[in-house]
Symmetry: C2
Subunit: 440 residues, 2 copies
């Protein structure tokens, strides 16, 4: 077990799995996996062909070399957690409640944790959540998987922000979903565009099932959906009988702590809400949840159970103890200050070093800044040049369903201390400057 | 957190989730879920209609009443684990390696645990497993889910033993798989029957993708596939281009420790092998694995990643430490003796109390004994009579794809001390005797 030393060694930080997915996805445009001669190829499902792979996975190995500054991984910074105390808590859970912690549990998750999750959601702005309608899942990735399973037949449409979370794209495409982007701006999805897109797709005879949205600090763009657009977006979806799938892992991480209302807040029947402990506590425990409209809960719960039987009991007990006996809101305030400092450092470095022609978002929370290069530049080959220069990022093509090259790229500030963020940007700048010069 | 006291309190033991599934399944024959008036019903996928629910879930609550002897739950007996020491291990992992344990990890699982899993598989009789081809999953339930996802389009056939594991049935049917039973006897699947069934189904134009089998101590029947049939079954499948999905959670729990070779052992390209720590260590950690033929591994791995992103890191580190620093084979020997004692107690009680006309299997390992009542008796209504008499079991209809009533039932001996097993059977006997008398 190798544990990176805090701080200084973050340069050698491993890329998160989500990042690897993103890199893989970025490299797949137009490629088809080579077909082997084995007769088992004939056994693969149609959906298996939609599950991407790529030679870019090689980059993973390269990018782990020491000395590289990784602006790729969207990992939370766990160094500020009270690890010794958490260890003692884990010990007590196993020693005193081991027969429960190590045993099978209920498929919906423990009632205690579901009740506590309602308190977490109250902090997020949802005041009426009922533990009966909470389903605990293996991270919110698994909650997305179940949503696609319950609602989408092959060819059904899920509308989503463009760009959006690579893991959700992978999950939806694994169900042969037709993922369709909706245009947005620096304030998120534009209601008029959503309405137009729905009309367009319905005119083509498409069945639109879900709108998947990360309204707070979208991964990768960092954009927050404007509060004044939120109810209109739900209304448009309700009118068109489209369920909103609201993914809110970063909501509590708004730097100033003044949180906009989730889409779910005033719309209990129209929004399936996904939450996660990955960004506010510990992703390695894989505990997320879905708050499901009451009329859909039983369907959703049974489908979830058919995937994993039950969420890990020990992990639920550890999260429960953390919520009961630790100052979890204080920890979130610590994270807000920490991530704000890093975001500011990254933005200042970008201001200082970026060549003319590059623009970027200025997020109010979350983990990511989204860069736009001049039209015509493909950020994907720049990944390799970046690695040569000692910095790694995720090319924009990873996060979009739009075919062809992308002139965007994602920088993550969550896991990297301010000084290293500056170093990373300093290394990235000449790579981008050269690409811009070559583009003329 | 309620922890049942060891031993005496096993009567009030909660039903495992798998058991609840089984009960639910048993009650669904012919029922369709009531359609609500909500327009979201139109959003459900075709597969969602295959995900069962039932009023029998009410039985769950009833069956938790104190004083009931539960022969329903297939829970391992964790009381013999060194809980204090495991607690200290968990504490050390979080205190010393918390930044790794609580962080995202690789989608395939840690290399350390995948390497150790190859040693576990060596104990199971597979000598050539490569950690590169191991994918760690959220229990082997999740590994089954991924297999169905990668290989099965709606209408594709998975062949399976009848009866078979209820969780697998639920998982496969959630992908609209056409599950087709293959006839077996007290020595498992009959090769000639398998060949005939394949020919029959292929003649009907069906696409057969997988043979799902639990060759060692099948859940629910307790039957072991005869060693001399094993290679022939693989050969038949290879010839028909059907991949074998071998599920072996109970293999190491053969009472005499003389283990038959897994189907995978001599057939690395033809068998996708599923293993689990749920029965030999701790189900509450949800750590299982798939050993995938090399030519299919990348597909399988990427699909697994699209469901859960990565398996829980902390849980993997705890299992790794357990395998490194504990006498895990000694613990398995303890389990073998313990489960053999319970199995013997159950069989002796059946010999003593069962009325004429009831027959049952005599397993050499695993957790379950399978009872057959005279033809014409439906075991499902007897469930309620059993509960009234203070004993709960799982009706046979749960474990079969055959429509209509079942005259079978499953008794689990794993979680119940010998004296209570005797009490349970003593309570069950008059219920069955009355049903037999009424059947004339």
């Amino acid at each position: 077990m190798n544990t990176p030393a805090p701080g200084a060694n973050a340069a050698a930080e491993t890329l998160s799995e989500e990042t690897v997915d993103a890199l893989v996805r970025a490299g797949t445009s137009g490629e088809q996996p080579a077909k082997g001669a084995h007769p088992h190829e004939a056994l693969l499902s149609a959906r298996a062909a939609n599950i991407k792979q790529s030679a870019v996975r090689d980059v993973f190995e390269i990018s782990m070399q020491p000395g590289l500054v990784s602006l790729a991984g969207g990992n939370p910074y766990l160094q500020s957690l009270p690890l010794d105390r958490l260890g003692a808590t884990a010990a007590a859970i196993i020693a005193e409640h081991g027969l429960e912690a190590l045993q099978y549990g209920g498929g919906q998750g423990t009632l205690e944790l579901r009740t506590q999750i309602c308190e977490v959601m109250a902090a997020e702005g949802i005041m009426d959540a009922d533990p009966e309608n909470v389903v605990i899942t293996a991270g919110s990735q698994s909650a997305q998987d179940v949503a696609a399973k319950v609602f989408c037949d092959p060819g059904d449409v899920i509308l989503l922000e463009d760009p959006t979370y690579v893991g959700a794209l992978n999950t939806f495409e694994a169900y042969e979903v037709d993922v369709q982007p909706v245009a947005g701006d620096e304030h998120g999805i534009i209601p008029e565009q959503l309405r137009a897109r729905i009309n367009e797709l319905q005119a083509e005879g498409k069945r639109i099932k879900l709108l998947y949205t990360i309204p707070n600090f979208n991964n990768p763009s960092g954009v927050m959906l404007a509060p004044e657009r939120r109810q209109e977006i739900v209304d448009i979806c309700r009118e068109a009988n489209i369920l909103v799938l609201e993914d809110n892992p970063y909501g509590l991480l708004k730097f100033d702590g003044v949180l906009p209302e989730p889409l779910r807040a005033a719309n209990p029947d129209d929004v399936l809400y996904l939450g996660s402990f990955s960004k506010i506590f510990a992703p390695g425990l894989r505990i997320g949840w879905a708050l499901v409209p009451a009329h859909l809960k039983q369907r959703y719960y049974l489908a979830s159970e058919a995937v994993t039987l039950c969420p890990p009991t020990f992990n639920q007990l550890l999260v429960s103890d953390y919520l009961n006996n630790y100052d979890w809101m204080g920890q979130i305030r610590t994270y807000r200050a920490l991530y704000q400092e890093r975001c500011t450092a990254l933005l200042e470095a970008l201001d200082e070093f970026m060549p003319e022609g590059v623009t970027w978002t200025r997020p109010e929370g979350g983990f990511f800044v989204w860069l736009t290069l001049p039209t015509g530049i493909d950020s994907y080959p720049l990944l390799y040049q970046g690695i040569d220069a000692g910095v790694v990022f995720v090319p924009g093509a990873a996060f979009t369903v739009t075919e062809g090259p992308s002139n965007k790229l994602r920088l993550a500030f969550s896991a990297v201390p301010p000084a290293l963020l500056r170093t990373g940007v300093e290394r990235l700048a000449p790579v981008l400057a050269k690409a811009i010069a070559d583009n003329f």
